[in-house]
Assembly symmetry: C2
Homo-oligomer: 305 residues x 2
């Protein structure tokens, strides 16, 4: 199972009572974050999942509201005792931007690994058990939507193990370690597992226009966290100019992508009461709800067959 | 009169319910800020003094908790419509550090002016009606204490004006504009004013050990805002190692400097209840109080004579 927390719901600037939009995923005690605006470490502290276990931080783009909290968070992670490398994922220029920001935290007690993504060859990135995919969004600057998948291996197949003549005491070991040696032969877990089972997918998209390619990218995820900068359909022109989405556009995207659930976030500072416009989105995609500060859910692996 | 607001009271990292230490001064509608950590713009928003009128931001040193909020604040100032230059004051290296931080806000709609201070020739810096002095503190990195003075001109001296033969309708103009021309001669305000009157002084010191030179620097200010990282005297060794002050050391400094009032701030994240140690400071310097989020005061010009 995968825990997801939406750390904040604001866009553009942090506000009293509204943290900037960022997401945290937790899997078997390890954390992955998407975006890190000013104040993100404070809402994380309120959440209480800790800082030391963050293995990757993915940045959608380099507008301040999505990255300005990074140097402070990196320091806090260091103060929490981290010494293992931390992977930063983001658009080209990531290392240059982070080098600039880190002039105020030049001596972190752990190394940073940079992965600058290239949408011409979008291979998934693997960090621990997280599989990270990305898709070029359409914003004022180069920006990516992310998708986090948790793959699930097939079930242990007793018949296969018995057919190989693998003794029972080694069955646990081969599943845990991936290989065992027995009688001079090496056996891999693939030899004793059934077909891979359906996994968990979560997609996160902000900031962007609702371009077609995003629809297939988010295809079938259990949870889609998407920006809804403006509630009113009357703001379509503004959304187009600033390369953001209306609530209704996010809902259309969720519907087109066949996702299970949509959370709206990244509300404009002028959108004081997003609840006034929720129905507009629900009329298009019923399983829409509003993001809230530290809204959390646990996603289970789909039931089989 | 000068309004002072302590925007936050935390040190090291922003916490739920505790913003990082920063100060805002307001004089005739113009603002001057000292330090700008992560989240400072949020507490400023709660205060409600606006963003557009910030003419100067002074940075004590480049540890993240004193400067990490700068790029976000600079953007918010731009969104508030500022087009006039903004002066940044700080230790040597300021322009390098800010250039790095501003990689996430490369297109501000107003120019930045950099003043890198040099304590070998500490001339006051004048920004509008604010006079900014500084003194080298003693911290892990180069760090400065600041003092903001508001000078007060002498009273208009009717006898001097009459002796010069300056007609009454010009009396207002010469005070307002500094000079008038009359009968082919130029008259300056100094010719019609009495001796300068006592002004207002506020000093701000964090992070530092309580070194001697600070005592004369803060001499006689109406308000001294000073760090008190640790409450317990038992933490003296820790304070020495980390180059911070105990409550009692800040109180000794305030007493030695003959200031009128002391506010303690920059509490360690481990100092959950600073009120437990207030008496320790008050026993040394009675007019000590604890900083609070957005604690505000108005300082009047001293009564004369």
């Amino acid at each position: 199972m995968l825990d997801i927390c939406l750390l904040g719901t604001g866009g553009m600037m942090p506000m009293p009572g509204r943290f900037l939009t960022a997401m945290l995923a937790r899997l078997n005690g390890r954390l992955l974050m998407i975006d890190c605006g000013e104040g993100t470490q404070v809402t994380m502290k309120m959440l209480g999942w800790g800082f030391k276990s963050i293995d990757a931080i993915c940045i959608t783009h380099f507008h301040a509201d999505h990255i300005s909290g990074l140097p402070g968070l990196l320091l806090t992670i260091g103060n929490a005792g981290r010494e293992e490398p931390l992977t930063l994922v983001g658009p080209q220029g990531l290392e240059y931007v982070v080098e600039g920001l880190c002039r105020i935290c030049p001596e972190l007690p752990y190394p940073l690994k940079f992965v600058e993504i290239n949408h011409d060859a979008p291979n998934p990135i693997h960090v621990g058990e997280f599989s990270i995919s990305y898709c070029l969004a359409e914003h004022m600057v180069r920006c990516y939507a992310y998708r986090i998948d948790v793959r699930r291996k097939g079930k242990f197949d007793v018949k296969k193990a018995e057919a190989l003549g693998l003794p029972k005491p080694l069955w646990g070991q081969i599943q845990k370690e991936g290989t065992v040696e027995y009688g001079g032969n090496v056996y891999t877990s693939q030899m004793v597992l059934g077909d891979a089972r359906p996994g968990i997918g979560v997609a996160y998209c902000t900031d962007s226009r609702p371009v077609d390619r995003l629809r297939s990218f988010i295809g079938g995820v259990q949870l889609f966290i998407c920006e809804g900068m403006y509630g009113e359909d009357e703001k379509k022109q503004k959304a187009r100019e600033n390369k953001h989405m209306l609530f209704s556009e996010a809902a259309q995207l969720a519907k087109g992508g066949g996702v299970e659930e949509l959370w709206l976030t990244h509300f404009s500072p002028s959108l004081n009461e997003p609840e006034l416009f929720l129905e507009v989105a629900q009329a298009i995609f019923p399983n829409t709800s509003l993001g809230e500060e530290r809204k959390t859910t646990t996603i289970l692996f789909p039931k089989e067959g």
